[in-house]
C-alpha cells in the first residue's frame, strides 16, 4: 500500500507546487494523474520517488516513510534517459549491480525479451528509435521488480501509433508482477486506456480536484460508447479544475486542445 498523507511542496523560489495531496494506492492499482501544465504532477512523482523531499506530509510505502529513492520504487521519465556509454543490455542491468553477473545476465535477457528487444541487447542507445529507447527504459525500471512504478509522461514524445502500442505493452508487462503504477499523462485516452482510477489535479497550488474511477472491463475498446462516456467525464473534471474559469465553458473539443 502506497500512502500519500497531506503532501505539500514549496520550492526554494517560493512556488507552492503541491498542497495537501492525500491518496492511498493499494498494491497493484493503476492510477493516472492528469491536469494542466504546472499543476504539480511531476513534483508529485518526484516526492513519491524520493528524488525530492516534501515540505509537508509524508509518503509511506507499506508503512515505511520514503525520504530517498527506494529499491521498491521504480521510475520512468519522459525521456528514456539511457546512459549512452552502456549497451542496451548494460543499461537494463544498471540497477542490478549487486547481483552476481550470471543472474544479472539472465534477468536482463528475460526482461529485454519481454519488451521485445532481445535482438538489441548489444546495441548502443543512439541506435534505437524513440519507442525502442523508451521500452528499454521500461525494462530498466521493471527488471528490479519494483512494487511501485512511477511514469512521468512516459509516451508523450512518441507518435500516436507507437503510443497506443506501448500502452498495451505496459499493461501486458504489468501482468508479470502487478506492481502499483502511477502514470502522469497529458493524454485523456492514455489515462482511460491504462487506469483503474484517474486523479485530476488543479494548479496554484497543486491539489487533487477530482478522482474518477474507470470501471471499463479490460481489454478496453477504444471505440466503445463507455470509453467516450469516461472521456467526457474526465474532460469535464479537467475543465472544472481549470483555474479562474467560471461561467462559459468551451466546447469539449476545445477543452481537449487547451490542455
Amino acid at each position: 500500500m502506497l500512502v500519500l498523507d497531506q503532501l505539500g511542496k514549496t520550492y526554494a523560489n517560493g512556488v507552492r507546487a503541491l498542497d495537501a495531496v492525500s491518496l492511498a494506492l493499494p498494491l497493484g492499482e493503476i492510477v493516472a494523474v492528469v491536469g494542466g501544465s504546472g499543476c504539480g504532477k511531476s513534483t508529485l512523482l518526484r516526492l513519491v520517488s524520493g528524488l525530492d523531499r516534501p515540505t509537508d506530509g509524508t509518503v509511506r510505502l507499506d508503512g515505511e516513510a520514503i525520504a530517498a529513492p527506494h529499491e521498491k520504487i521504480g521510475m520512468v521519465f519522459q525521456e528514456p534517459r539511457l546512459l549512452p556509454w552502456l549497451t542496451v543490455a548494460d543499461n537494463v542491468g544498471f540497477g542490478l549491480a549487486a547481483l552476481p553477473s550470471g543472474e544479472r545476465r539472465d534477468r536482463v535477457a528475460a526482461q529485454l525479451a519481454r519488451v521485445g528487444l532481445a535482438d538489441k541487447a548489444g546495441v548502443w542507445p543512439r541506435e534505437l528509435s524513440g519507442g525502442q529507447a523508451q521500452r528499454v527504459a521500461l525494462a530498466r525500471a521493471l527488471v528490479g521488480r519494483p512494487e511501485v512504478l512511477l511514469l512521468d509522461e512516459p509516451f508523450s514524445a512518441l507518435d500516436a501509433f507507437t503510443r497506443a502500442d506501448l500502452q498495451d505493452h505496459l499493461l501486458d508487462l504489468w501482468h508479470d508482477a502487478e506492481p502499483t503504477l502511477v502514470v502522469v499523462t497529458h493524454d485523456v485516452d492514455e489515462a482511460i486506456a491504462l487506469a483503474d482510477r484517474i486523479v485530476v489535479m488543479r494548479p496554484r497550488p497543486g491539489r487533487v480536484a477530482a478522482e474518477i474511477a474507470v470501471e471499463l472491463p479490460r481489454p478496453r475498446d477504444r471505440d466503445s460508447a463507455a470509453w467516450d462516456a469516461a472521456k467526457r467525464r474526465v474532460l469535464a473534471a479537467l475543465d472544472d479544475a481549470r483555474e479562474g474559469r467560471g461561467g462559459a465553458r468551451p466546447a469539449e473539443a476545445g477543452a481537449a486542445l487547451w490542455w
Partner: protein
C-alpha cells in the same frame, strides 16, 4: 559490487558494421591522400628549383638536405639523445600538469564551495602569459630541469583544469537522477555516471594540454638547455645551420602527432559508444 555492468566496453554486434567501417576507412584514406598533395608538391617543387640552380637553398634547405641532416643526426645518436631529453621533460610536465589540472578541476567541479574558493584565483593566474613565469621559476627552481618542467606543467594545467571543470558542470542532471533512482553511493555515482559522462571532454582537454606541453617545452629549452630538440633549434640558429633547425621542427611535428595519436588510441576503447562521426559516415 559486480563490475562488468560499469565498464563501458561491451561487444557490439550490430550487423553490417564491418562493411560500413571499411567504406568509411577508404574515404578517410582518400582524404588523407588529398591532404598530402599541397606539401608534397611544395617539397618537390623546391627540390627541383634548387637542383635547377634557381636558388642555392642555403637559407631554405631543400628536402634532400633536410633528410640528410636528419639521418646524420639519427646515425650519430644525437637525435635520439635530444628527442629523449625533450620527451622526458614533456612527459614530466604533462604528467604533473594533467594530474594537478584533473584534481583541481574535479574538486572545483564537484563542490561549489571549492569552486568559489579557488576558481577566481586560477582564472586570474590563467590570464598571465605562462612565459612570464620563466624568470621567477628560474629564481625559485634553478636553471636546470625543475624550472623547465614547471613551465610545461603550468602550460598543461590550465586547459586540463578548465576542461574537467566544464565537463563536470555540463553533466546532464537528468542522468545523475538516474543514478539517484538506483541509489548509487557517492563513489559509485562518480565511477558509473560522472566519469563516463566527462570522459569525452576530458580526452579533448588532455589533448589540448599535451599540445601546449609540446609548445612550452620549446620555450623552456630556449631559455638555456644543453640538450633537447629546442637546443638543436637554438644551436642551428647560432651556427647558421637551417637544415638542422628544420630537422628539429620535423622531429617536433612527428612527436606531437604521435603522442596525440597515442592518447586518442589509448582512450578510444572507452569512447566507442560516442563514435558519432564514423557512425554518420556509415549511414
Amino acid at each position: 559490487m559486480g563490475s562488468d555492468a560499469a565498464i563501458p566496453v561491451t561487444e557490439t554486434t550490430a550487423s553490417g558494421r564491418p562493411r560500413a567501417r571499411a567504406g568509411g576507412a577508404a574515404r578517410r584514406w582518400r582524404a588523407a591522400a588529398l591532404g598530402l598533395v599541397v606539401p608534397v608538391v611544395a617539397a618537390v617543387g623546391w627540390e627541383l628549383a634548387v637542383v635547377a640552380g634557381l636558388s642555392d637553398g642555403r637559407l631554405v634547405p631543400p628536402p634532400s638536405r633536410i633528410a640528410e641532416t636528419f639521418t646524420e643526426l639519427a646515425a650519430t645518436g644525437e637525435l635520439a639523445r635530444h628527442t629523449a631529453a625533450t620527451s622526458l621533460r614533456v612527459a614530466a610536465g604533462f604528467g604533473i600538469g594533467a594530474l594537478a589540472g584533473t584534481l583541481f578541476g574535479a574538486v572545483a567541479g564537484y563542490s561549489t564551495l571549492a569552486r568559489t574558493l579557488v576558481d577566481p584565483t586560477l582564472q586570474a593566474l590563467r590570464a598571465i602569459p605562462s612565459i612570464a613565469w620563466v624568470p621567477l621559476f628560474i629564481l625559485w627552481l634553478g636553471i636546470f630541469e625543475a624550472s623547465k618542467v614547471a613551465l610545461i606543467a603550468v602550460g598543461v594545467f590550465f586547459p586540463v583544469y578548465l576542461g574537467v571543470l566544464g565537463a563536470i558542470a555540463a553533466v546532464d542532471r537528468k542522468i545523475v537522477e538516474v543514478g539517484r533512482i538506483f541509489r548509487l553511493s557517492g563513489p559509485a555515482m562518480v565511477r558509473r555516471i560522472l566519469l563516463p559522462a566527462v570522459l569525452p571532454s576530458y580526452v579533448v582537454a588532455l589533448r589540448a594540454g599535451l599540445g601546449l606541453g609540446w609548445m612550452f617545452v620549446v620555450a623552456a629549452e630556449f631559455m638555456g638547455a644543453g640538450e633537447g630538440l629546442g637546443y638543436l633549434l637554438v644551436d642551428g640558429q647560432q651556427l647558421g645551420k637551417p637544415a638542422q633547425i628544420v630537422a628539429a621542427i620535423v622531429a617536433f611535428a612527428i612527436l606531437g602527432k604521435t603522442t596525440d595519436w597515442l592518447l586518442v588510441a589509448a582512450t578510444a576503447p572507452f569512447l566507442r559508444w560516442q563514435d558519432v562521426v564514423a557512425h554518420q559516415e556509415a549511414t
